[in-house]
Subunit: 353 residues, 2 copies
Amino acid sequence: MAETPVRFGVLGCANIARKMCRAIDLSPNSILYAIASRSLHKASRFAEETGFSSPVPKVYGSYEAVLDDHDVDAVYIPLPTGLHLRWAVLAAGKRKHVLLEKPAALNLSELDRILEACRSSGVQFMDATMWVHNLRTATMRGLLSDSERFGQLKSIHSCFTYEADRNFLQTNIRVKPELDGLGALGDIGWYCVQALLWAADYSLPKTITAWPAPDINAAGVILSCGSCLRWEDGKIATFYCSFLANLSMDLIVLGSKGSFRLNDFAVPFRENVASFHVGSQFRVPILSEETVASDLPQEALMIREFSGLVLGIRENGLEPERKWPAICRKTQMVVDAVKASIEMGFQPVEVGT
Amino acid sequence: MAETPVRFGVLGCANIARKMCRAIDLSPNSILYAIASRSLHKASRFAEETGFSSPVPKVYGSYEAVLDDHDVDAVYIPLPTGLHLRWAVLAAGKRKHVLLEKPAALNLSELDRILEACRSSGVQFMDATMWVHNLRTATMRGLLSDSERFGQLKSIHSCFTYEADRNFLQTNIRVKPELDGLGALGDIGWYCVQALLWAADYSLPKTITAWPAPDINAAGVILSCGSCLRWEDGKIATFYCSFLANLSMDLIVLGSKGSFRLNDFAVPFRENVASFHVGSQFRVPILSEETVASDLPQEALMIREFSGLVLGIRENGLEPERKWPAICRKTQMVVDAVKASIEMGFQPVEVGT
C-alpha cells in the first residue's frame, strides 16, 4: 500500500495560502487536509474556492482546532509575523511539523524559541522561502560550485522591490509594527538576504552595514532599505528592498572566472521554466542563457521537499533535517543586523555565530 | 563646398586608440589626420595598420609635433592618466580641442587645471566615455524622464568588472600609481559612477560611503572597490568595480512606477543594436525588451557629437558646450570622494558642489 501522504493543516486564509494550498495539492506526497480561520464561514468559503483534486479539506473555526486534529501531520503558518512565535510553538508542542511563512520571526530571540520548540518535539522546521527549491537554483548552485567555470565568489547584488499602493501603505499588515514589524526588510528583504547567503554557501558575513536613508513610516516600520555585507575573505554583497519602487527581483553573482544574473530570482516570471544569464571566460562578451524546465512550480517543489522530510520522520524514524532551520536562523541573524545597523545610525554590525 | 571635417591628432598608440581611430574614420564629420608616438617607427606602423578610408594619416615621433601642426583641430589623448594634466593643458594652450580618455585626471585639482586651460583657450573639452553617446542611452533617458512610465527615481546599481590576468596585475599601467593611480576605480569605476550620475540627471549625491574591504595592491592602487551614494531626496545608488571578477557591466535603475536593467551598459555586446529590459506597472511580472538600432557604433557617435561641437566653434564662432566638462567634473568629484572614503576607513564623505 502506498504511503499516506503528508496531511497539511493551514492556519489562516491569507492570500499566500491560496498559492500554497495549490502547491500542497500539486505535490505528490501531500494533501490539503484542513483549513482554519478565526471565522468558520471564511474557512468554508476558502475551502470551497480552492477546489483542487484532493477531497474537500476539513474546515475549522479556530487555529487550535487544527492543532488538536490528530490526523494533521504538518501545519503551514501564513499568519502575520507577530503571531509566528505563539502559533509555531503551539504547533510544535502538538507534534505538528512546521512550515512557517517568511519572515520567520520578528527577531532571532523569537525564532530561537520556535526552533527550540521544534527541536524538542522532534518535528521538521522549514521557512517557506520558495525560490531556493526551484530547479533553477540547483542549476545555479552547480555553476557556483564549479571552480573551473565560476572560480572564487567575489561579489553579489540582489534587489526585491514592488510598488505598494496608498491603501497598502496605510492598512496592510506589512506596515504595522505589531503584525509585521520588519516591514519591507522582512517581507522582501528576507529573500534578498537569503539569496546573498545562498550564494555564499550559507557562510555568515563578518559585518553588515545598512545604507543611509531608509524609508521608515510614522510607526517606525521600514518601507525601504539596503545594506552591504562583508565576509572575512573580502567578499562583498549588497541588497536593496523597497515597497516604493517598481517590481524588481534582480540577482547578480560575480565570480573570478564566471558570473550569472537573473531578473526574477524570487518568483520566476514563468512557473515551469526559468532561466539565467551566464558570463564566462570562454565566451566574451556575450552572455549565454541557461534555461531550466520543471514539472512543478517552485512552491510545490518546496512542499515536496518538506513533505519528504516529514515522511522520513513519520515512516522511518529519521531525525529532522537540520539544514533548513540553520539557513532560516542565519537569514534572521542578518535581517536583525540590518535593522540594528539602521537603528545605530548605519554603523557596521558584527554578526555573531 | 562641404565643410572641412574636424582633423584629429591622436597622442599615443594605446590599444584604445585603434578603436578610436576607426571611430574618427566612421564619423562623417571627422578625419584621422595625424598620429604621434614617442617612437616614429611605432607611429608609422600604427598608421599603416589602421588602414581606414581616410588618406593615410601623418605620423609624428613626438606628441609636441602634433600640437604644433596648425592643421590639427582636435586631439584625442589616450595616454596614461598621470600624463593627462601635462598634455591636455599643452594641447589646449595650442588651441586644440581636447577629447580626453577616462579617467580624466588623477584628481579634481588636476582636472580643474585642464578644464581651466580649455576654458581660457575657448576649446571644447569632453571625456571619452562612449556609452553616454549610444542611441540606447537616449532611449533610456526618455523612459527615465517619463513621469507616467517611470515615476520617481529610487535606486540605481551598476557594476563593471573584468578578470585581469597575472601579467596585467603586475605590469599594466592601470595598476601603477604614477600612471593610472586610480586603478580599477578610474578604469572601470569611472563608467559606473557616470552611469549613476547619468540616471540621477547629473545631480550630485550628498554623501558617498565606500564599502569595506576593497582590494588594494602593494603599491596602493585599487584593484576592486564599491560604494554607496546617497542623494538629499533619499535616492540611493551603489556600484562595484573590480579587476578580479568575471566581465560584468550591469546597470539596474529602479523608479517608483517603472524600471530598467541591462547587462552591457558600458560596451554593448553588439555594435549596431543594443537593448534593455523594462519593468512597468502595466505589464507585471514579465519584463519587456526594448531594442535600439544604430548605424554607427557608440564611439563613432561620440566622435560625431564632439566634432559637431568643434565645427560649431570653428565655423560659426559658437561657445564650447559646457555640459561635457560639467559631467566630467562631477564624475571626478565622486571618484575622488570614493577614494577619500576608502582612505578614511569607509566613513561617509560629503561631496562639495
